[in-house]
């Protein structure tokens, strides 16, 4: 049950960092999200992101920072198997589900729904 508490707290705090980038850093939302993704990738490269996921579960894997982490981890694990080429072939290995499902569902939505207000 403890994981639920930490998922809430850590996920909330990552969103607060994003909000501070918007309000104090005066970034646009697109810049803010980009900064977070790159930050996630850097943390992943330093082997710091997986411990955060172990600790906070979805609190670390749901925010967009985990997208950066997943890109790096996919590239690294494939690079371990097949050398430098693996970086390119493996980069979408883990994130494929997220990107494909977003494309598929968004396209289905555009077939069914009309824009609202």
């Amino acid at each position: 049950m403890q994981i639920y508490f930490w998922a809430f707290v850590v996920g909330g705090l990552i969103c607060v960092i994003g909000q501070l980038l918007l309000d104090v850093g005066k970034l646009t939302p697109a810049h803010m999200v980009t900064v977070l993704v790159v930050a996630g990738a850097i943390l992943s490269g330093l082997e710091l992101y997986q411990p955060l996921i172990d600790f906070a579960g979805a609190g670390a894997s749901v925010p967009i920072t985990s997208f950066g982490n997943a890109l790096v981890q996919g590239a690294l694990s494939e690079a371990k198997r097949s050398g430098l080429v693996g970086i390119v072939t493996g980069i979408f290995e883990v994130t494929s589900a997220g990107i494909s499902s977003a494309i598929i569902f968004a396209f289905l939505a555009s077939l069914v729904f009309r824009p609202k207000g």
Partner: protein, 157 residues
């Protein structure tokens, strides 16, 4: 000439005036909202993860993909019904930072440009906002993975 200078001056003055009178952003209130909504979305994500682990026998690691897909599905559905943007106005970064915000940006771009046709409208605009995340994510991941792999090759012979 002097008239020209005068105009630049007033423009500067105007900018200063506009800056001084800009409404103060309620930073603390915004952060509390972002914390609550972002936390709740992650809480839901944790619930979905556990649902997949206990009901379908996924491991903690393999449950990540169906969880992301489920959250994305919910986000696209709520975006299509016009609910997500309503929450987003209140929650700020709380809805933009989780993966649901990524899906929201794609679904809303797809819906918004639907009238321009499926190929030129939906197809080419879907990644209008989400594209920068993918481009910078992939490029930084490439650089980081390259460095790590080279270090491992040189150091870990």
């Amino acid at each position: 000439m002097t008239e020209h200078k005068q105009r630049i001056l007033t423009q500067k003055e105007y900018q200063q005036m506009a800056k001084a009178n800009e409404p103060k952003r309620p930073v603390l209130a915004n952060c509390v909202r972002a914390f609550l909504v972002g936390g709740i979305i992650c809480l839901i994500g944790q619930g979905i993860t556990d649902f997949y682990i206990f009901c379908f026998g996924f491991t903690e690691k393999s449950a990540g993909n169906p969880t992301a897909a489920t959250l994305i599905f919910l986000s696209v559905l709520l975006t299509s019904l016009g609910v997500y943007d309503h929450i987003a106005q209140w929650a700020g970064a709380g809805t933009a930072v989780p993966v649901t915000g990524f899906a929201n940006s794609m679904a809303s771009a797809a819906l918004e440009h639907r009238t321009e046709g499926y190929v030129l409208g939906v197809g080419s605009n879907m990644f209008k906002l989400a594209g920068s995340v993918i481009v910078f994510g992939v490029f930084s991941a490439f650089v980081i993975a390259l460095i790590r792999t080279l270090i491992a090759m040189i150091g870990g012979v």
